[in-house]
Symmetry: D2
Subunit: 351 residues, 4 copies
């Protein structure tokens, strides 16, 4: 089978011919139809993240090994099943839950494999979906899509939408709450849709790009703030009777955005940190108890969340937007375009 | 009536003769029998807290006005009731809930007056318990103690124990969790007792004083770490199969302790920040989502929590330790001793 | 002032001339502009509810005293304030939270006065809104409406919508859940709107009236079942892949409907019982643990819930439907029409 | 290998010689050292439960097939592993989580396999622990015990203690709550220990046997009621200032006990139904909403709960009491003794 792989960081991906795996035990082999191109693939490609004190956090220090086939947003059809795999049949259309754990840590035991102590995520720690086939360790990581559902729009549910969903849930929004959602890109757009569908809260979108803010409004935001043009803190105070935001969901999570987040919070407020931009925050410690603040890191979601998203998507309550389609041999181009901000919705590789 | 008041910050308290208030409407006048001396009284006396970037956060900027009668841990008997006060009778022994709100903000509406947007806490924003009498704005802030209960050991329930209780609750500990409790002083000792009584978790006490750590062990800690003598991170890793702590409750909350807290956390771990020592933390932002960390500020507790503590104390499940007793004219001495670490349990003023 | 009162059960209400109350302490006098006519007013009028074993549960045994001015859905303007009342000014438009408690029981302490051990609800245990003025015991039971908000459509928020909201919340619905809502009358319609706005779940409406089911569909139901024409259990099984419903919210709560509810539940399912129709259920006890079922009684909601509803209503997310308006001297006519099923949305008395 | 099997209901169990299974894929073969004898094994032996209306609910209608090797409380050592099994090694001492699901239903996806739509529980739907070896479908159902831990006292953790734990958790007890625990037998004793260890609540034990009530007091109950000798409702009212119980946990769950449960509940109270005695309850429907009652069926617990129990047991916080030991060929005798109330703690089969 063909796979587009990162052989060396920062070098073009190579399309290699690999042996097609044969599923054993509970494993299932999936024929990939759609594989989403995600920002975190860029970090894999670059070999790391920006940490605090100007440090660079290397992916290899977190257990990533190269060469690697990236791709964790995977939809396709069942090709073949191991002898202990059940519940699915050949050619059945499925979405893959990629945030797989080793199975025995407290998170895995509780159904939160995405938060495993020793993660085995597809496309991160094992070969993923930038390939004709992907081997899934158990049928339990598959979600049925049904024949009428499109794999291209389904693929991003397993990371882009899932991450937004996990973050919205952690913000525990209630109908009278004001929430500021920072970053109106792909994740942000999903978050506006989801927050509108399940919280009843008052959504304020914040970004530095008017075009994106316009889309935010069409996708559920009641108000928008261009933090390049306006003073973000003042703008939020004006929209909230000078009380501040009950919650902020930050899809950028850079020093500059989080510094602002902390200034626009109401007492009892929380900031949900999602983005992987990085950097550091100088946090005033005494303010945490006296203002009863919470900082919550949010990382993807679990398979129950994913099933809920599939349900919402099937009924048209949420709608991932696919803007670009690529072939396997265009993987480098896809990542480059994404890095340069040239992909407005989601890019999909169709192997 | 007599009251020991802060007239000027950093100056000795003055015992003044004030007019004894007359309760109106729902108000109740309490004859103070026991008034706890709390670390936060020192901050009122000094006029502020250490903030980030070497900044000093002034109490007057947070709405405190001098002269002020401090004292928020108040137990005594009902002296007289306003015409709309009910449910209590003259001479009934009561504990006062001091964390009073203005009544209309979301926190107050939900029964969390301690987190009010515009707090009116007794002994902080209005005159408190370093006095012969204290005026409580409504009978709803009183908790019955019963005749057999001692006011001296009850008074600290409303702040010292309540703060520990709120912090333990926010840590959501379950029986297999490891929790590191930083600071084995008064609050820490309450936290060991409470965590033992209601969580079933494995408690690790951390402090720099062996005497305190010995007490920690007698009050519920399974393990102790002297972070002055041992490497705290290594010690925690050894005690937790190299996984790290599921939760840290930090009753110091200084730059140095919280930096350590962040290093000994397991993935999915949380740090509950309680102390008012202050300073700043350089927080790595990308680590928050990837490790799914939470930082939770915890400030006192609500009146339901206080009633639960009274229930635990009455049955001997928790036992506040009173070490020093003072008269009203010894208030300055009490605060000075506390500041200098000379009070090991709780100091009480008996007016 | 004039008030329409129940002087004797089952007799026409009398419009009496009473002394207009003067607010003291924290009390506020409200000039009533809109007072909703609720099914539970009929029970007050009839003097009781149908209990188990053919028993009649008398309102007087629950502490109701006649003569009584009914009316617990009250919107109007502030007329005058007691000397300790604050936060509101004369002529300000407000909604009244009527589910008032005595203030000291565990429910009241936690902000759930609607569940007080010794309730003092307006229009039930004390005089209510079928009058020109109503005396509210504290400014804390008022919710600001703002000048632009209509009192007629706001009044039903405090019972009809609040009861639906409380029930939807107790059902803890998630996006992939199937919920059957039994009874597409006034409360049911609010529940469809609310469940759609804040849960993302799949809503199945059940009723015996096709006209109401049509409205259900327009207000958020994805599917409808006429249980008079179809076998309800079969119909639900067909809509749920033979798994059954994850939750049922029963706004009728009669023997017959609840018997059916129990048959259409999925393992782990819950039935939220709201209606006051009454009767008894023969419950199979062993089925409760083996199927992990829950039966949850739901009674109105708290003031935080009400504030959230006001927020949803102001933004047009939910829309109570007012169908009939009456004067004070038409109170008996209003109750009679409601009893006979002649009021399709909500009837309002404008004194 | 030898196994003691139910070949026909109500007939003596037969010790049969079966082929020892070979583990494939993720499967693990466990050499059984201790297998608890549980009340629900009696129901399997008798072929069913008493349902409502005098009905008999047959186990075969719920999917049980005979011949069956019962036994779901299984501790032993790893004998051999399938090629995809990992994390355990030969001779490692383990406890088996028996409440296995089919893996794809919502409960399984969320880590609650004990509540699966199509359960495959060991010793119920597949062969269990009354045997020399048991085949476990995946290493993920194993919990490490450590060399120092006794298998006899560990085995009952997976059902008797787990069921008590699940029930205590569902009762959401807080320190000032009164909880009545009905039935001071094996499950009840575990519940007293657990409730004492993790809730801080006030525990009232109810039984008809003074000897058991004496044990209840030694295991955590603050008060005891012999409902044969005293009026149970009066007794509870006296102990609770006439307010009633905040919660009841009923380990009998028969018509008579639950009728009493309903009468001794405080407003907002809940009854957690656990026992499998059966029969029916005539439930007053209108009382459910007006009193805000909850009836909660509780069935065993999940693997996270089990791990928590193992942690509590290892530290001596809870202590299952083993009173009788049997060989495989005494299985019929063990069940007969249990049925006749002759086993006071837990009976264990050591194959």
């Amino acid at each position: 089978m063909k796979a587009a792989r990162i052989v060396q960081v920062n070098q073009p991906l190579q399309v290699q011919e690999l042996q097609t795996p044969k599923p054993k035990g509970a494993q299932v082999l999936i024929k990939v139809q759609s594989s989403g191109v995600c920002h975190s693939d860029i970090h894999l490609w670059e070999g790391g993240y920006e940490g605090p004190h100007g440090l660079f956090l290397k992916t290899t220090d977190r257990g990533v090994e190269y060469p690697l086939t990236p791709g964790h947003e995977i939809a396709g059809v069942v090709d073949s099943l191991g002898e202990q795999a059940e519940g699915f049949s050949k050619n059945e259309k499925v979405l893959v839950f990629p945030w797989i754990g080793e199975g025995l840590c407290p998170a895995c035991r509780a159904g939160d494999e995405n938060l495993c102590d020793k993660p085995r995520s597809l496309g991160v720690y094992t070969d993923g979906g930038y390939a004709e086939y992907v081997l899934v360790p158990s049928y339990k990581y598959l979600v049925k899509l049904g024949d009428d559902t499109d794999t291209d729009t389904s693929a991003p549910l397993s990371c882009s939408a899932l991450t937004a969903y996990g973050a919205v849930k952690k913000s525990s929004l209630r109908p009278n709450d004001n929430v500021v959602i920072v970053g109106a890109g792909g994740l942000g757009l999903m978050a506006f849709q989801i927050a509108k569908a399940i919280t009843g809260s008052k959504i304020i979108a914040m970004d530095i790009d008017d075009a994106k803010l316009k889309e935010a409004k069409e996708n559920g935001a009641a108000n928008t703030i261009n933090s390049k043009k306006e003073d973000a803190v003042n703008a939020v105070m004006e929209l909230t009777d000078n009380m501040g935001a009950d919650a902020v969901i930050d899809f950028v999570n850079a020093s500059k955005t989080v510094e602002t987040d902390m200034q626009l919070l109401r007492r009892r407020g929380k900031v949900v940190l999602v983005g992987l931009f990085g950097g550091e925050l100088k946090l005033s410690l005494v303010t945490m108890p006296t203002r009863a603040y919470r900082l919550i890191g949010s990382y993807t979601g679990n398979i129950t969340d994913l099933i809920e998203l599939v349900s919402l998507a099937k009924r048209g309550v949420i709608k991932p937007i696919i803007s670009n389609r690529f072939k396997l041999n265009q993987a480098t181009e896809a990542l480059t375009m994404l890095k340069n901000g040239k992909i407005l919705g989601r890019g999909i590789i169709n192997p």
